[in-house]
Symmetry: C2
Subunit: 134 residues, 2 copies
DNA sequence: TCATAATTTATACTTATTACAATTATGTAA
DNA sequence: TTACATAATTGTAATAAGTATAAATTATGA
């Protein structure tokens, strides 16, 4: 199923801009901010508006096609990998990588509460940056 | 060791405002936002400035006496419970409660990377709100 | 008491996100 | 095809959290 079909299946009419934003997120799996998405896509779509990007992101997140990722203040990032996982952000190089964790204790919480979102973010310095320092 | 002594021990001169903010966080373990702290304390300290609250919070966080907790956009919350744990925020009543989790896989990550902060936030509907609905 | 440093305060600024109204595109019935 | 209704996009202005800055106040120590 391609990106266009996924949008349609989720009740989103696949306009050009929506398809571009969604495709960008699925291709560039780097947890970009809204501004980065806007900035990168503007090269291909010069008329693109920042509001559109925010609208589309909100729409996609509402349909659970992407996930909002909150790591640092003033930057909401987005992720098209839906499998349950956390994130590690290197405070040196800024890269955000995925961290997959055991579901056991999440299941425990889920027994009594209704979970709608999990944000698991680890901030630190990655192996690569640690080595480059010495 | 009382709050004043803790501040001194961590190299923070215990001014009235600093002591008030720190004591507030230790007493009111509800993960308040900076604005809530400011608003509540202003009743006792009418001259209190928002900037002071932000300054003190930053100072305390820098000395690891409190932890910044990022759960939803546009609201940075603060926590004086330093034991490693996550948070569950009920999207109905807004309450934030603590969730303690197994350290095993964090240790795994720590073997190769340097961890400076962990943000583990679960958003959902709490038992209480689920029951009240029916 | 006075000088100096530390702290607090008020104001202005930055920046991510949202609200809103105007414009443009799209799909359908005549 | 045309006209119209609806949906989508755009640009601008507003909102609000957090920060920078500098002035004012307070504390400290000789």
């Amino acid at each position: 199923m391609n990106n266009k079909e996924i949008l349609i299946k989720n009740g989103i009419s696949p306009s050009f801009q929506r398809l571009q934003v969604y495709s960008y997120l699925r291709k560039n799996n780097v947890h970009p901010t809204a501004f980065k998405i806007y900035n990168d896509l503007k090269k291909q779509i010069p008329t693109l508006s920042k509001t559109t990007v925010y609208n589309v992101l909100k729409l996609l997140a509402g349909k659970n096609l992407i996930r909002e990722v909150k790591i640092e203040d003033n930057e909401l990032r987005f992720d098209a990998v839906l499998q349950e996982h956390g994130h590690f952000k290197c405070s040196e190089c800024g890269k955000v990588t995925d961290v997959f964790y055991d579901k056991e204790f999440v299941d425990f919480i889920e027994k009594r509460n209704k979970i709608t979102d999990i944000q698991f973010n680890i901030i630190g310095i990655c192996e690569n940056c640690l080595n480059n320092k010495n």
